[in-house]
Amino acid sequence: MATLRLNALRKTYPNGVTALHGADLEIADGELIVVVGPSGCGKSTLLRMLAGLESISDGELAIDGRRVNDLEPAERDIAMVFQNYALYPHMSVADNMGYALKNRGVPKAERRRRVEETARLIGLEDLLDRRPKQLSGGQRQRVAMGRAIVREPRVFLFDEPLSNLDAKLRVQMRLEIRRLQKRLGVTAVYVTHDQVEAMTLADRLVVMNGGRIEQVGTPMHLYARPASRFVAGFIGSPAMNFLNARLDARLGGDILTLPCGTRLASPIPASGEAKTVCLGIRPEHLAVVPEGDVIDGDLSVRVELVEPLGADTLVHARLDGQDDLVVARIDGIRAVAEGDSLTLRPDPGRLHLFDPETGQRLAPMEPECQHSTCPA
């Protein structure tokens, strides 16, 4: 149980490449933080710096208020779950789990008791004498978890622990990790590139891009109020649609004009002269409008591709007379075929505007909310 404080944490490799450009983050006791981002964004580097496997070039890392920059991994009292599990192949499950305790000089009887207790907690009692190679992927994953839990560390670090499992097992283990972490109340940092995993697990999400932290917040906050175009495109599946639009002031309200000529009421006031903005609409915020009910501001599109998912159907469609493709998530029972003409209506309360150059959100940012129940 611990709090973590990252203060302008930086990583520059000897060859001059900077993998992390100063990360600031406060992690509360018992919180599950998920760090998410595309490959090469520095999220693994960040985690390995927390673990002590990579040195810290600059800045400060503190666990429970104590600076740990120069401590060995073992001295930081952290436990890490690796992507390929990194189980010791020649040791039994019990020895794998008890190795850290053995190195700390915990007596054999005590070690045994703790290993057995942890094994019961995660359902490994019957496998304690097996070798890792005699286990299935999911069981190995469990052993890796058990090895971390048995030490009762102050912080859990997870490095994409589920990416080697099949889809079904992944969902199951995801729930289990969440349940265990809450039950044990241990602070955890979890790195993944899977945004679904990130959304479902996180107390707070950290979205990284190009060695920088783009945004920190609860999953729902990031979904509803992405701070940048990058975050908007990364969080949510399928990804948000982006269209260029012109924002200008008109009598009777500020207007967004799409290249196809469609006009929408702007969610933010125009300032001064007209300018180009990037309009973001999530696929789930585009609704199909029945024929004859079309009003100003609806998008008429031609369907190019239909992906039925069961409950929903993803419709990839082209705006009339334009090259822009949009994706809409519509009800699965609605029959749509390729080549159909449809009218889509954006939810006016859920439009996102971004600066086309900087990618920053062009709306007043509410103060960051701390609860996953925060209103969208």
């Binding site: 496997l53 073992a74 690796f82 990194a86 010791y88 190195n103 190679k133």
Partner: protein, 281 residues
């Protein structure tokens, strides 16, 4: 066997049997000859069956000083065993540590160290035998076990093999061990050594045979019979200029010289098989 043809079967079996005879006949002759007395060996025909002496010749060479050697074969076997074990164990220990340093530690001139070790692969013992002899003589190592073992104790081949094996160990294993609080020695002892068990067994066999079969170096460095090895003595037994060669003694000694390597291979083979069946990766 996917292709079963009678002609092929007969031909391959004939070849197999021929090879077996070519290999086994000398050994068989050595065994039978070792059980004869000298007189019956000089009748002009090689005996294909056991003679009158039984195990008497073996008992004799093991307990009494043999001919011109001035010592018994027990002593020679002991010398050879000490040398072969010393070389095998020493080579493996040094190679493990050297490879461990080269693969898992970052230190200045690391690459250079590796290449220097690698280059010595190209220098067989015989090439550097004179300078080595000079150094050993100056250090007073003639006629000693240290002198027999030390100059042959480092092995670039073994270092290279261990390096290649260590490079295949996933780096996460080291990281997991670090997180689990294992320092460098613990990682070596608890993780790396158990993982290299089969490599160690294989190298032990090879290096033991290498040590046991050394001829030139023991010949140079030992001048007295109490440190002579059995392989060197065998040659010496044959070179009796003015006497009849005591073939029954030579054969008995040769057979005894074969036993330890055979024993090592038979014993270690069980580890190979275990390692193959129980492959831990």
């Amino acid at each position: 066997m996917r292709y079963r043809r009678r002609g092929l079967d007969i031909a391959s079996h004939a070849l197999l049997i021929l090879a077996l005879i070519a290999f086994c006949l000398p050994v068989w002759l050595a065994i039978t000859a070792a059980t004869h007395d000298q007189a019956s060996l000089y009748t002009g025909t090689a005996p294909l069956w056991f003679g009158s002496e039984g195990l008497g010749n073996f008992r004799a060479v093991l307990t009494e000083p043999v001919g011109r050697l001035g010592t018994d074969v027990t002593r020679l076997l002991l010398n050879s065993t000490v040398m072969a074990l010393g070389i095998a164990v020493g080579k493996i220990a040094i190679a493990i540590l050297a490879a461990y340093a080269i693969v898992f530690f970052r230190f200045p001139l690391r690459r250079l160290c590796f290449w220097l070790i690698f280059i010595t692969l190209m220098l067989p013992v015989e090439v550097r035998i004179m300078p080595t002899y000079k150094v050993a003589a100056d250090l007073g190592l003639l006629n000693s076990y240290v002198g027999l073992i030390l100059p042959l104790i480092a092995s670039a081949t073994a270092t290279f093999l261990f390096r290649q094996f260590y490079l295949t160990v996933p780096p996460e294993l080291l990281e997991a061990a670090r997180v689990d609080g294992a320092g460098p020695w613990r990682f070596l002892r608890d993780i790396l050594l158990p993982l290299s068990k089969t490599n160690i067994a294989a190298l032990f066999v090879i290096m033991f045979l290498y040590g046991w079969n050394q001829y030139l170096w023991p010949l140079l460095i030992t001048t007295e019979s109490d440190h002579m090895t059995i392989v060197v003595s065998l040659k010496r037994l044959l070179s009796s200029a003015d006497n009849l060669v005591p073939w029954q003694t030579v054969m008995a000694t040769a057979l005894l010289a074969m036993l330890p390597p055979v024993a090592v291979i038979v014993l270690m083979q069980r580890y190979f098989v275990k390692g193959l069946v129980d492959a831990e990766k």
